[in-house]
Structure formats: structure tokens, C-alpha cells
Symmetry: none
Subunit: 209 residues, 4 copies
DNA sequence: AATGAATGAGTTTTCATTCAT
DNA sequence: TATGAATGAAAACTCATTCAT
């Protein structure tokens, strides 16, 4: 229903999708707690009662925004994971997916970053978030097994470094503290991969780590 | 008043501090929007009316939590910045400050991470938040100038990678998805510094970045 | 349309009857105010919109339940009234009609007792409800005139005693606080008639009433 | 808190009692489902929010009206039960208590009769209602044991007859279908006792019951 | 006749904030 | 300082009813 982060928009738009999109825009503008159900309905051009035809509550709307978004991201990440390219290329693929989502639908990323990812209320449902971490971790582990990455680094921690770097850059764009021109986006991708994969490269005298 | 993240607690505890501490615990447990003023007062063992003697509003309580916390972090970061140690050591110092705050007061970190850093309402505070980024960036720039780090990487982006990695690890501890034993904390510090400084090291044939 | 309280069900069942029956079951289970129009429709297996083809409103459904029920009761009561049997036999006939309705359709009785008879909104129907009282009162008056009952008792009050006794027993069955086996039903009939007619018997030294 | 049905009003009136009394008046006038929380607050002359300081919900207000009322009735009934007067006198005492409550506080009786006694929602809490029945039944049983009443009548059914007669008369007054002048009230008491005790008298040839 | 999406007035409830004591 | 009763704006949510299909 949602304009997919990873694919193109699906022209035809039913009411449920209309509401979900409106919600994304409104959440992005005013925040989840800063808007009323009526704001979403107004943005969607429907009566607020209709929202309850499609969703059980305001909370459920946010949850759906997340579910029907992250699933796409995850699927894309899995596809990248299964490639047989070098680990560096696969991490680069993951970075592309996450960072380019910003150019495709900034409001959506804004909402996921600000409202969902750290929400204490939604933490339960979000084991799925960590599936993304798992994918990154698996890529790193395989990179270590195949000698592309040094083995003396905890792959779990490394996945947090990689994912955290990406999320922070998205946050910078969301909050407006980091340039987000097309060129900047491409450069951000390269930089993250360069730094993290550089740091994981094996041919170094690995200090006393 | 708050138990400082960077220093020790100041034994005597006045009512204002009592309320502020209680707020941190309650915000950590239920989130800012998920708790009532009465919850904070109850946790502090005072009547909720008293809260309004010390703070203008519930919002102001959160703001104070942030102010009286982040100021410490910032001061500590500035001290590290002005050292004459190698850039790597200085980044390591920053990592220590942020990550060890977790061991000192997890609830406080939880609140800053979840409620303040990404709050749409507190965007005015962002400049202060990002003073920390500036410190990191300056360390990197100096590292580049002094030949310790490669120069073909945007230092601003690099500071996001470093800070994002640290914040993600804190988040992992906050959400319980990452081990936070004493040993793990020490290792996390090392790993982040190792990866990021490794990735920034100049003696590499720097690909085509 | 409703399964008559006093006669047998009319085999074939149109949609209107389907809805009316469903309403009786739902009202009995959750109360008029405790159910939604959609509950009735669901119980009837139709879309809730259809309800508005047959009834002007939810209120009208309840009113129809009453009308098409009480009319039967009343007609039966009138028939009994016009008999030439002794007053005691005629009261016994009334008791039979009311109490046996319970065995025939408990839900319907439940609804009439709980939702209609005492409803503040349906007070206009009270005249019809109390036509039943009038019938009972007339029987008693005639009993007094013919010497079967003592004359120093207000027949109107006596009719309240008689009707109240019956309704309370029905209520006991409705609420499950009184046994309602077939045998109990027959015995209840006898007991009410016995007590009330006994109390109305003239051959007593009538105290100082 | 409530103006007791069985005792005099307690001059001094706290806010909770104010609200409870206002609720009784409003429920009596418009019915529980026909009034809004705001109506109660307005009648009490307080802000509607205050209602939630003293009660958890609108439902709880009704429940309290009942609890803090019926307890009194029950206590009074128990006192009567323990007397050593003849059973007839004791039943007469019960009748007095119930019927005179009407003169003392008609609104309260109206509410209890219309909203509480038959409410499907409140049935759970109301095992207490039946404590009244039990008291009546015990009086009758003792009357039978002591030869004052005939023994071939089920005392449980007889208690329903007695209580039902009283409730129906109250209902008549509530609905305005029965005169309720002072004289009528006294006469109603006598009539109910006369009929029921007359019907229960042993010196009759008891038919084939 | 039949459906169920759509409407929106109406209601309960919450809760930050005030203020008399 | 300290309390907690009192306020009332604000919001989520319900649900009877309408209506295009």
C-alpha cells in the first residue's frame, strides 16, 4: 500500500493507502504525538471516522507505516546478502538501499527514524528491525571467513558500527544538519563503506586489539 | 543537580534533584509521552503540584534533564579535544566518555538517546547536541592536517560515522539487543576506535574514493 | 414476524424477521445500549445497512420487538378475561400466559422485561403495557363484585401485587436466580395464584384492613 | 455519602457526595444512558474533570449510587429480620422500609429500580441484591416453622411474590401509573402484607397445592 | 434488495496546569 | 515549601445513519 521505499509508486491508490500516505506526511511534519487523528484525516481528505475503518487506533497507523515499509527494506537487504559479490560490495549494496530511501521518500524515512526506531512503545513489535542487523552481521562474518575482513573484530559490534553510521547520516539529513544533495548522498555511501571496510581490512598490523 | 554523567554524584539531594532523578527513571521506563506528571511526582515521593515550583512545565523537566547532562558531556569532550595526544587517542577519549556514561547511569542515557536527541519538539537544542559533532569533526580535521588520517574523506561525514557508531551501540544496550557487561563496554570502545581509525588511516592505497 | 410468545412460530422466515430475531438474541445477551447495530446485523448474517431498509432506527427495532410481542400477550389476556370461569381461574390463565412465555422464548421475555418495561425512553408505550394491568384489575373487580374476592382491598393495588409477583419470577428466571425447569414453571403458576387468591379470599376475618 | 434512604440527610456535604447526589437527580431525570458526564458535573456545579477525581468512570458512579444505597436498605432489612415479632410484623417492616424509601428519596428509588436492578451490565456486582431476597425468605421459613404460615408453599417462590409486589408498586410510583400520596403509601404497605400473609395463612383448606 | 465504505456529531476520558490552603 | 482538589482544553474513539454501487 505504501509507496515502497525500494520500488516505484503504484499509481492507483485506495483509501487505506491514501490515509497511510497522509499519515506519513503528517507524522513527518508534526511528529506522531504532535498531531491529531483529525490532522491525518484532513490531510487524506477523508472523515476521521474512516481511519477507524482501516485501523484500530492511531498507534496502529504508525505501526503499519513501519511494517509495510521495513519489510521492503529487509527484502532488499536479503537480496543483497545472497549475492556472491565481495563483502565490501554487499555492504555497499546495503548502504545504497538505506541511504537512497532518503531521496525516494524523505518523509517516510523521517518518520521511521524519529518515531518508530526508538519508540519505547513499539519496541516489542520490532524484532524485525534487528533482522537487518543480522543480515549485516552475516555479511561481515562471511567476509571474515573468506579472509576479506580481519577476524579479530566482533562481527556483531561491527554491524552496529556500520548500521549506526548509516542511521546517523540519515538522521543528519532528517534534522537538516547534513547536506543531502544527490552528490552528497553518493559520497556518503562511499565514505561509510570506505571507512568501515577499511577499518575491517585484514592487511593491517592490527594494533593490540 | 542530576547525577553527572561524567563525575560522581553529589551526595546531598534536594527536592529539585529528587524530581529530576525520578523523571529520568520514569522517562526511561515509559517514555516522555507515555508518562504523566503524576508518575514523576509519585516516583519522587512528592505531590505533583510541587513539580511546578521547580519547573515551568513537563517539557521543561525533559529539557533540564538534557541540559544538565549534555553540558557535562560537552565539557568533557572539549577537554579531550584540547589534549595534545594523537587523534586516535582523542577519539578514544570521546568514545570512553559516551560509552561509559552508560555504565554510570543507563536510564539517563536511555532518555537522552530516545527522547531528546530525536525529538521533533526539541530541535532548538540540536545546535547544542551537534556541538559534540563539531568537536569530533575538529579532532578528525586536525588528524588529517597532521597526517594521522587520510585527507580524502569528508571529516564531517566521518564524524557522523564515528558518532553514529557510538550511539548505535548505546542504543543496543538501551534496547537490550547488545551485551553490556563491563568487559563488553571496554571492548566496544576499542572496536569502534579500531574500525573508524583503521578506516581513516592514510597508509592505504585509498582505492578510488 | 417474531416468533409469537403465545402461538407457534411461523415456519418461513423473511429477512425482516431474521433481523428482529437476531435483535432479540443480541439485546438479551448484551442489552440494548450494550450492543451495536452491527452486532445485530452480524447475528442475523446480513450487512448492517440492510437493517435500515426494514427499520427506521435502532430504537425502532426495539419498539417492534415489543409491539409484536406484547400485542399477542394482550390479546391472549383479553381472551382469558372474557371467559366466564371463576376469577381465580382467569387469574390462573393470565399467569399461565406470562410465565409460559418464558419457556417458549426466554430471550424475548428477557428483553421485554429488561429493556422495554422500564425504559425511560419508551414511556409512551406504557399505556399499552398497562393495558395488561387493566385486564387483571377488571378480573379482580369482577371477582369482588361476584363475592369471590373480599371487597376491602384496592383492586388496582391488588393487580400490582399479582403482576409484580409474576414479573419478579420471570426476572428470577432471566437472571438465573430461580430454577426454571418445566416443573418449577408449573409450580410457580400455582403458587402465585394460590397466594394472591388466598390473600384475596373473603372468608377471612379481614383484620382491620 | 449519599443521603441515606433509611436515615436523615447529613447536613455537611463533601464534593464526592455532591456529585453522587447530582448523579441521582440526573439519572432519575434522563436515565443513565440518556445523560452525559457533563450533565452530572453541571448539576453538581463542578467541572466534569472532578468527577474523575472521585470515580473511575461514569459506570462507577452508578455503581456507587447503588452500593451506598442498598447497603442501607439491607442493613435495615436485617435489623427487622432479627426482631422477635410475628413473621407478619417482620414482613410488614420490610415493606415499610422499601416503600417509604420512595417518599424519602424518589429519585434514588427511580434510579435503583430503572437503571440498576435490571441492568445487564451490573448483574455481576449484584449478588447483594439477592441478600434482600434471602432475608425475606428466612422470615417466611421461620414463619412456616412456627406455624404462622402454611408449609406447603415454596418459601423461595413466596419471597419472590412478596418482593415482586413491592417492587411493582414502587415501579408504579416511579412511572406515575399509581398514586403515591402519603395515604396511598400507607395503604400499599397494608395491602401487600394483607394479601401475601393472607395467602400464606395456614388455617385454609389449602386446596391441592 | 443488499452491501459496506463513508460520514461526523457526540461522548467519555485524560492530564497538564492552577491555586487555595 | 508543599499539597492535592479543582479546572477545562484537548483528543481519541464510537457508532448510528447515509448512500453510492
Amino acid at each position: 500500500m505504501l509507496r515502497r521505499l525500494t520500488e516505484r509508486s503504484n499509481g492507483g491508490e485506495d483509501k487505506r493507502g491514501l490515509i497511510l500516505h497522509a499519515a506519513v506526511r503528517v507524522f513527518a511534519r508534526k511528529g506522531f504525538h504532535g498531531c491529531r487523528v483529525g490532522d491525518i484525516a484532513e490531510e487524506a481528505g477523508v472523515a476521521h471516522g474512516l481511519l477507524y475503518h482501516y485501523f484500530r487506533s492511531k498507534d496502529e497507523v504508525l505501526e503499519c507505516v513501519f511494517n509495510e515499509t521495513w519489510a521492503d527494506i529487509l527484502a532488499a537487504a536479503r537480496m543483497v546478502e545472497e549475492t556472491d559479490e565481495p563483502a565490501r560490495e554487499r555492504l555497499s549494496g546495503i548502504a545504497k538501499i538505506l541511504l537512497r530511501a532518503w531521496r525516494r521518500d524523505p518523509d517516510l524515512v523521517r518518520v521511521v527514524i524519529r518515531e518508530v526506531v526508538r519508540s519505547p512503545e513499539l519496541q516489542r513489535r520490532i524484532s524485525e528491525i534487528h533482522a537487518a542487523f543480522a543480515a549485516i552481521e552475516r555479511i561481515i562474518v562471511r567476509g571474515q571467513e573468506e579472509g576479506e575482513f580481519r577476524s579479530d573484530v566482533d562481527p556483531r559490534l561491527a554491524s552496529f558500527v556500520f548500521y549506526g553510521a548509516l542511521e546517523e547520516i540519515l538522521t543528519g539529513w532528517v534534522l537538516g544538519t547534513l547536506d543531502d544533495g544527490d552528490e552528497q548522498i553518493a559520497r556518503a555511501e562511499q565514505t561509510v563503506v570506505e571507512i568501515v571496510c577499511g577499518g575491517l581490512a585484514p592487511d593491517r598490523q592490527a594494533a593490540k586489539l
